[in-house]
Subunit: 306 residues, 2 copies
């Protein structure tokens, strides 16, 4: 079942608009486009790392998901993005947090993986580094989206004193990610997000954290998570799947299921993940109402929401 | 063996000054003070979380270690600090990165654990949050130290184009941490650091990352790491110890040894960790020349360097 790829576009409570078939098809088409892009590159002998990056770029460029172009508004009315990826062959990783103005944060994370001795860069100084490396900075208008703006207006001001994200809006439904195995049996994972609507205080979620939101190791699996970030951090969920396989000796399916429906659920966490192993097995468990997701290999291809 | 506490003050290549008995005693005394503070509070029925926080505060207040007062200089000549802690009873966690001007970053991390819905805050907005919560901001002079300044002068300018930390100075020797088990058998871990001398681009190391530099779970162990941060991130080392126990069924000693001398070493990582389990067993493996460390319970108490 090599090569093989899976993508997600977030998990959570389904927005009411999803009952509209036209809307559903828009989402499914975007997922399909990401799958096709990633899978085609795998068929042309691209590495898993390359394929997951390409798939995530497609999802970052869509305004449907909360990542890249579609990123939600922070409490200050701008867009802060986080991303990370990991190469299961080398165990190398790259991650960014609090990035503004860059079209594809996942490309910046990949740049860090390849071209720096560091793994994780954040904030204004990371943006300065991107500038020095020649990244183009897009105007705020590139990230503008009426729907996201309206979401923000609803929450604006509510979190100014207390850190509060009890308003579980659709923004949790939108982090994107991809996992893949290439022709050589190497695996990789990538995750990208625009965070939470009205987020403040420089909050960092699980998406840019290796072990929490993203992990890959040829010996076990590649994992990309989506959901309520704080619980994925406390559960170290991405690496938890890997450890269940490596130390517990269970297969991908059981490991992924237990991470989501035991480890995560037991601490009250909501969300899901996509995972692949070096043989091309894919698992996509979630404990929420839905998870935008899809997978593709030479035998099977599908996209799903609920 | 309850209550029990262990502390570390960093691992790495021993500085040449350590051959001086007076210098050695200064370090050992500082570790002892942290142990005493933490252990006394445990004996007075404080929680493990409280005890590790108190022990880390002592080490942050010492100018000997690269954390709090003794934090190294960044490429811009200021001091950016990272810290995190985790409660093994509740699996709650708090973490901060890129904090400036606050005397005890670990107290801020604890504040986040208790008083916010978020786990991890970073950068200028996190500093803004601290200001709103009434933290006192100290002048840069509080963090000034001639030795640290000289270390920075040696490196200043060298990393301005390339991300490069091939200069393995003593700054890797200085992250501090504590792990403890209290009378109730609850465990906790805390880690605090001033990062790397001349660090730039908003680099975040393992210290503030739950799973990488810090982890605690009553079912398994509490862990605080120290060393070359990027490798601890890629190895998800703190949680790796826990998973070896939980899924692999090995004891604390074997789990900690394997995490440091297999998982970490196999990817080229240098460093060490301190770990405790709910029964009060303590393990302190490292694969470097030395690790400032110590432990204390009702039967044993020691501090060591090499």
């Amino acid at each position: 079942m090599k090569p093989s790829i899976a993508v997600h576009g977030g998990s959570g409570t389904l927005p009411s608009s999803i009952t509209d078939a036209k809307i559903r098809i828009m989402y499914l088409n975007a997922l399909q486009e990401a799958l096709d892009e990633g899978f085609n590159s795998l068929k042309s002998n691209a590495s898993a790392l390359e394929a997951v990056t390409k798939a995530v770029c497609i999802l970052e460029d869509s305004e449907l998901f909360n990542a890249g172009k579609g990123s939600v508004f922070t409490s200050k009315g701008d867009h802060e993005m986080d991303a990370s990826l990991m190469d299961g062959k080398t165990l190398q990783a790259g991650a960014v947090a609090g990035i503004k103005g860059i079209r594809n944060p996942i490309l910046f994370a990949k740049d860090i993986l390849h071209n720096s001795d560091f793994v994780f860069l954040a904030g204004v100084e990371a943006i300065e580094f991107a500038r020095q490396r020649g990244y183009k900075f897009l105007p705020q208008s590139y990230f503008y989206n009426q729907h996201r703006y309206d979401q923000w207006q609803e929450l604006k001001g509510t979190g100014e004193v207390k850190l509060d994200h009890s308003h579980k809006d659709e923004s949790t439904f939108g982090t994107v990610g991809a996992v893949a195995v290439d022709n050589d049996g190497n695996i990789a994972a990538a995750t990208s997000t625009g965070g939470m609507t009205n987020k403040s205080w420089g909050r960092i979620g699980d998406s840019p954290l290796i072990g929490a939101g993203t992990y890959a190791n040829n010996k076990t699996c590649a994992v990309s998570c989506t959901g309520y970030g704080e619980y994925f951090i406390r559960g170290v969920i991405a690496y938890d799947v890997s450890c269940r396989m490596e130390y517990g000796g269970v297969n991908l399916e059981l490991a992924a299921e237990n991470s989501v429906n035991n480890r995560l659920k037991n601490i009250g966490g909501e969300g899901g993940l996509i995972a692949v192993d070096a043989k091309g097995n894919i698992s996509m468990p979630f404990n929420t109402e839905g998870m935008y997701r899809g997978m593709k290999n030479d035998r099977t291809s599908f996209t799903k929401i609920a």
